[in-house]
């Protein structure tokens, strides 16, 4: 079945083939019709070639007989909703009439269809008319499903590895877990937050990770050491690490060599401590640290960053700001914070006095 809609205009001369009744709703010359019929009768007496429009099955108006009886009848309007008509009518009608464009209706152009796999699609013909065959170019996209398959495979492999490595996020013992040259900014992609409760020594020993902060951000996970008591040697002996995120060692009772021997370590976003946190050679042999913001309280165990000669002023002031006030302590104890000659030179006397007035000796 074909469909017709819109406004059409019959040709000046209509080919009457004869004898057909075509049920179709249309308007012409201000009247609504339900059918049209062409009739050809040729006898020895009469040659009858007529086109009639019908308002009912029994009431018709002759509109064409050899010529149009009224030019207004040439125009027929099928309305805006497509209506089904017989193939016979469509073939005869479109051979004798021309579709009038309903401005601003747009004619359907060629249609490009991208098909990734077996399925259906919709041609973008809404609001458009067409009185011709539509060329449809079909492009079968094999690349997209392939690439999607590759990505799904990668994800499945990633999930399988990390669900096993961090048993569905339940791992709490991280001793040596990310140590060694196999770990870098690409291979280090944990699926779950790293929240150890014990055994973290050598967690990043000799790792090849450079930007641990960004690597964690990329994965949407955190490194949380705030529950760990023994934080010794977590980042010790590294020649790659440059940037660390917030490190919370406020529960630590051991910190020996926490950041020891990190030749390239430049930045620790934040180091969270409390007044009982020990600092046992934490920063020795780590001369590149330039940014280290300390928060919390530095207390009885002092603080020593003399190896970190490149510390910026913000870092130094954060250290001074964290020093517990021992100004009332007259026990004779020396409370010492070791910044080193290079770092002391970055501070004004007023800034140094903030520390000494709190009872701290600056070295």
């Amino acid at each position: 079945m074909a469909t017709v809609k819109g406004v059409w205009v019959f040709n000046e001369t209509v080919e009457i083939e004869g004898g057909s009744w075509f049920s179709v709703n249309f308007m012409s010359n201000g009247v609504a019709y339900i059918a049209m019929s062409d009739r050809q009768r040729e006898t020895s007496i009469v040659q009858d070639m007529r086109l009639r429009y019908f308002t009912s099955s029994s009431s018709g108006t002759k509109v064409y007989e050899e010529e149009w009886l009224n030019e207004a009848y040439r125009t027929v309007d099928f309305g805006t909703t497509p209506q089904e008509v017989s193939d016979e009518f469509y073939a005869w009608f479109t051979a004798n009439a021309t579709r009038q464009a309903d401005e601003p209706e747009e004619e359907v152009g060629n249609i490009q269809i991208n098909i990734a796999e077996n399925g259906t699609t919709t041609l973008a013909t809404a609001g458009k008319y067409c009185d011709r065959d539509i060329d449809v170019a079909v492009t079968v996209d094999t690349e997209t499903p392939y690439n999607e398959g590759v990505e799904q495979g990668k994800q499945a492999e990633y999930d399988a590895f990390w669900d096993s490595f961090q048993p569905n996020g339940s791992l709490t013992r991280y001793r040596g877990v990310f140590s060694g040259y196999g770990w870098n900014d690409t291979t280090f992609a944990p699926k779950y937050d790293i929240v150890p409760s014990s055994a973290v020594a050598n967690m990043f020993y000799y790792t090849r990770i450079v930007d641990l902060k960004q690597a964690l951000l990329n994965c949407g996970v955190i490194l949380d050491l705030s529950n760990v008591k023994d934080c010794a040697q977590v980042f010790t002996f590294n020649n790659s690490l440059k940037t660390l995120p917030k490190i919370d060692i406020s529960s630590a009772t051991k910190t020996a060599q926490l950041f020891y021997n990190n030749a390239k370590l430049e930045s620790i976003d934040e180091l969270v401590v409390n007044e009982n946190t020990p600092f046992d050679r934490c920063f020795n042999n780590s001369p590149s640290i330039a940014h280290l913001i300390v928060t919390g309280t530095i207390g009885q165990n002092g603080f020593n960053v003399q190896w970190a000669t490149k510390l910026d002023k913000e870092s130094l002031l954060s250290i001074i700001d964290c020093l517990k006030d021992y100004s009332a302590d007259t026990s004779g104890t020396t409370w010492a914070v070791t910044l080193g000659t290079e770092n002391l030179a970055k501070l004004t006397d007023t800034e140094k006095a903030v520390a000494t007035q709190k009872g701290w000796t600056l070295v």
Binding site: T334, T350, A355, T356
Partner: protein
């Protein structure tokens, strides 16, 4: 308005020496308000290097 004069007491090691109180070491020391110069003494650079060497060895062993 309150005017306060802050006195800074600074110890500077002699050439070839390092200041220490037995725990920490430095070429210059700004004493805390309750600290005393008597708590500090000088050791030679060589003695300082030896002390650091011992600490390093301790670290390696750990």
């Amino acid at each position: 308005m309150t005017e306060t004069t802050i006195t800074m007491r600074k110890l500077t090691a002699s050439e070839g020496y390092v200041l220490t109180n037995g725990d920490v070491y430095g070429k210059e020391v700004y004493l805390g308000v309750n600290d005393s110069a008597e708590n500090w003494h000088e050791i030679t650079d060589a003695e300082y290097a030896e002390a650091m060497e011992k600490l390093e060895q301790l670290a390696e062993e750990e």
